[in-house]
Symmetry: C2
Amino acid sequence: MNTTGFHVAVLGATGAVGQQMIATLEKRDFPIRKLTLLSSARSAGSIVNFKGKEIIVEEATPDSFEGVNIALFSAGGSISKKFAPEAVKRGAIVVDNTSAFRMDQDVPLVVPEVNEADLHQHKGIIANPNCSTIQMVVALEPIRKQFGLNKVLVSTYQAVSGAGKDAIDELYEQSRNILNGEKVDPQVLPVKGEKKHHQIAFNAIPQIDSFMENGFTFEEMKMINETKKILHMPSLKVAATCVRLPIETGHSESVYIEVNESGVDTKDIQLLMKDSPGVVLEDFPEQQVYPLPANAVGKNEVFVGRIRRDLDEEKGFHLWIVSDNLLKGAAFNSVQIAESLVKLGLV
Amino acid sequence: MNTTGFHVAVLGATGAVGQQMIATLEKRDFPIRKLTLLSSARSAGSIVNFKGKEIIVEEATPDSFEGVNIALFSAGGSISKKFAPEAVKRGAIVVDNTSAFRMDQDVPLVVPEVNEADLHQHKGIIANPNCSTIQMVVALEPIRKQFGLNKVLVSTYQAVSGAGKDAIDELYEQSRNILNGEKVDPQVLPVKGEKKHHQIAFNAIPQIDSFMENGFTFEEMKMINETKKILHMPSLKVAATCVRLPIETGHSESVYIEVNESGVDTKDIQLLMKDSPGVVLEDFPEQQVYPLPANAVGKNEVFVGRIRRDLDEEKGFHLWIVSDNLLKGAAFNSVQIAESLVKLGLV
């Protein structure tokens, strides 16, 4: 580690996203002077390797954030609510990967390719959007900028790792059970805390997070509200249906959009995607080239393909958007935010 | 078997759908005097049990249809094109489960709950629609009738059994490979005949059938064109994105619709679904009750849930529609057509 650089803390260091955060900090060679790894009492004592050195994970307390410059949080909403104010009080900037503060007016909700400048408004806490929101807005922002955007309808194909390690274990255990002709005993998905659970192996569950009174799930409302906030379009029409699938990692999205401008071609959108930051165009259907979640795993980009004009709406287009939900959807975007803070001189 | 009743033939008797056709004929106690089971030379000689008797599968020839009243076809489009005219010439009515004749003006495309009366126009061949189309129109027809229908946008979550037994075997083999840490060697999906194949286990493939010049797949265009034909709405706005998933059986669909009438409530659509033929309403999200493909397997009905009004469009609604693609999507609908032919005195 450098003697210059920043004191960085990761809260939730032993979780699926936390581990990716640590790996991403290492891969991106983020300027770190000191790395503090924090978790609940239960996981404290674990040892994590970072740039060849072993770091012991400590139980998080308010004082853990003493001297920390940047704290990456990914340990659940209630933990964020408890510790973020404590960290900010001690001078840290918190990049929070939970939904705890995302819709707070005072908290910038940032995807660096889309609204990096919003970071200037931060008051200590910056929110990392929901995984399924991030990959969608990375693709939609260039379209909004160039052609205007009027409507977004998305159906998601989401991987279990978004629900944590227990969900991954459950997927593989159930898959094994079914292949062996045994019964399955669902305990985690769709929502760990709820009373009823459904089989995820070789199945599709149209529920991610709990239901709201309007019939949408919290996950769906996150996609709807966060998209409007990040794109600075409070009256954008957005609807979402979120579905959990037997895939370990990699979220896919079937997205229908309507642009404002007339005369836009499929080719125009393809060329735009090709040149957009953080986007990789994979759109050669005649060669069976389109984004696949299994191919996106371990990559930081958002993959876009199957772009085609609607057959009825001249301003309507369909897209298939895929990304690694643990990286661009979570850990990578958080580290990118930290990088932007450094670049903008905000830390 | 009865001495009264009909001489029924099943072409493609050893395939995934053919076997379900035979099982459905038995379960529904269809009035059969004689059952002729036909296949390619390769599968001829197989023995199939029907109502406690063993029937030997024969190689199909034009003369196999001599004396047959109703022939259920499910052996691929080219086989249908070859044998359907021969069967009709010999006096049989063909219920064809392939896409060979579906869009022919002379051929009724029938889902009995929706457009049974179209059977009166038949000239020997009746087409069974695509699996993903059938389950959608069963749910949409009552809505069209009651409230009018203006627009349909669907993203599908389709099971591998729609691509036949090889695809099922491939899903389970790849799943086993991945659980054992071994490599996979895709050979079947997304389209058996094409050069390139993609992993289906723990993945999502946004291609079903080959691509057309407009960027849509044939499967997507089937959903679009067949829906218009079955609902007798040539100018209905329909778009589809079809995705293959690691699920053995049970297609799911995330469907957005716009009705014509104002003032329709979510509750109105729910009550309508509850009373519609062939539909089971499963819509108690607060109790985590919604359609799941794993629960639909082996059942003849179409399951509808997650019904909710769009947050921006007063006439817009979202639905989640699930059915067994081998039953209502294929075998059961074909046998239902045969039953309708009997009921209407058309055979």
